[in-house]
Amino acid sequence: MTVEGTAARKPRRSVKRTSASATKGRAGAQAPATEPQLVQLLTPEGERVTHPEYAIDLGPEELRGLYRDMVLTRRFDAEATALQRQGELGLWASLLGQEAAQIGSGRALRDDDYVFPTYREHGVAWCRGVDPANLLGMFRGVNHGGWDPNSNNFHLYTIVIGSQTLHATGYAMGVAKDGADSAVIAYFGDGASSQGDVAEAFTFSAVYNAPVVFFCQNNQWAISEPTERQTRVPLYQRAQGYGFPGVRVDGNDVLACLAVTRWALERARRGEGPTLVEAFTYRMGAHTTSDDPTRYRLDDERAAWEAKDPILRLRALLEKEGHADAAFFEELEAESETLGKRVREAVRTMPDPDDMAMFDHTYADGHALVDEERAQFAAYQASFADSEGN
């Protein structure tokens, strides 16, 4: 069996700073002593470790591939943050620190699987082959997403947190009705775990035995609210109450994320129903570029998580095992720069939508009022052209 219902029943109260000198300097979000054991296959130091239930056997090329994915995703993310600072984007939601959770789970997927992301799954989008520039349209304000979800089986970003877990569940119900053996994965966070829609998605998926994986990136912070404000039990344990397994995985360990997600997807394919995966990770950056985390969290908490960096630990493994030479890292650096340049150019040349576009796609079959207002607006716009002409 999985690690559902371990002995760690202690409520995860945040460690009170006044309580004991023994916990001095340790912020609540860390608190490993009270945490249930994470599924881990690669330590922060880059050591391979085994787990009795989740094994993974990857060759050097696959390991390099995961490393490349994470590095390029981080580069893309950094570029987007910079573009926001330069005024090219109105907002950016950085995934910094969550690369392993996203690349590990994203690379576990088959092409015919379907992804329902939040608004931060840039790494999963990368795995699905979505052009990174496509993700930036909504943050620049030229559209609300706008990509065709079916071209990469990657649904549109959902901003209202948790809503997409129900869409994923419904989609998975459809997959089961079609008799397909593909699976669906829904991403959400520790904050969204409090939403009723997530609870309802757990209920629906369980009673219909839907082939869906709920992938919760617990990055410890929902803007300013710590996970302790969302739950009194480790999030993965919630699955037990709904009748399906929950697993907590080291979200900064790309190998463990890959192995556990693959296992959960296989369960779904075999008709064994939903799984909750809680990827225990950390939001290294701000919630978005509009946020100021210095108002609510301590620098040393972040520093502690820096030591668990998902990219550094895989690099340590690659180097130690001799799976990657200097040339590989140099080429990847060059590729990162190229990607950054490409994204920069794509954003800066992204055209504003036509004025009339605000009326487009309100309805598929048309609507008399939209037609009327579109015509009125066009006439209004045209009236300026006339007066200028005269």
Partner: protein, 326 residues
Amino acid sequence: MAVTKMPLAKALNESLRTALETDPKVLIMGEDVGKLGGVFRITDGLQKDFGEDRVIDTPLAESGIVGTAIGLALRGYRPVVEIQFDGFVFPAYDQIVTQLAKMHARALGTVKMPVVVRIPYGGGIGAVEHHSESPESLFAHVAGLKVVSPSNSSDGYWMLQQAIQSDDPVIFFEPKRRYWDKGEVDTEAIPGELHKARVARGGTDLTLAAYGPMVKVCLEAAAAAEEEGRSIEVVDLRSVSPIDFDTLQASVERTRRLVVVHEAPVFFGSGAEIAARITERCFYHLEAPVLRVGGYHAPYPPARLEEEYLPGLDRVLDAVDRALAY
């Protein structure tokens, strides 16, 4: 000939049956829609004939029902969702307004949302709280949704067919106190357009505009007025979003007076929008301001008071008198 006299409830049931028969992607979802056939029996016998895979009893969670219907629509299905009562739709309001209504636009047209949300609405059945409300304006206000309400059996049959065939989400308000009213249904007829209004009764002195449960009241008012020598036209709007203003305008240009009637509260109700637009369109034709008859700005009252709250024959005729007095 396939003309049969049947209650609205049966017409809706037949319509769902036809949809299930003709399109394998059509699904019925809701609370108690399976073995029980729905609390109003609108889905009676459908699960028995089409199976639990297509007529789906859901957990009691409205947001979950609509949210999973959205996912099924993304997968290529055409879910027809039943919300058990008007006042129960609000847990699903977020999914309807935030997701269902906007998904097509968010995707720049690359996905469609052919979801029908059926809601039995309105009062007059002596029910407890939350079972008698008329929240249609709350949906008509939202771009991306279409809102319709049949008033009779034939429209019940055909408008539901058309709503299911629509690639847009349709909020389908069923006048629950008219479920048992019988009317002729021709299942081989060529139906009118879903969002087109219908002149239910011709007249020359004043137009009464209504939809759903109030059409019957307006027709009765028109008959009563006739005895007093007044010729009242009744327009059954049928659709609240979009509203067929062309048909209504043509009527008002002839009668020069308009009274809009709905069960929903008058304040910010559909009558307000209709009054504003008809005033803009027919300013020089109007002999009187557009008047509205509807519910009050109070919570829907306990059943013992609902007869006073609901616009009945006398309140409609009172408005007719006031409009004609100008």
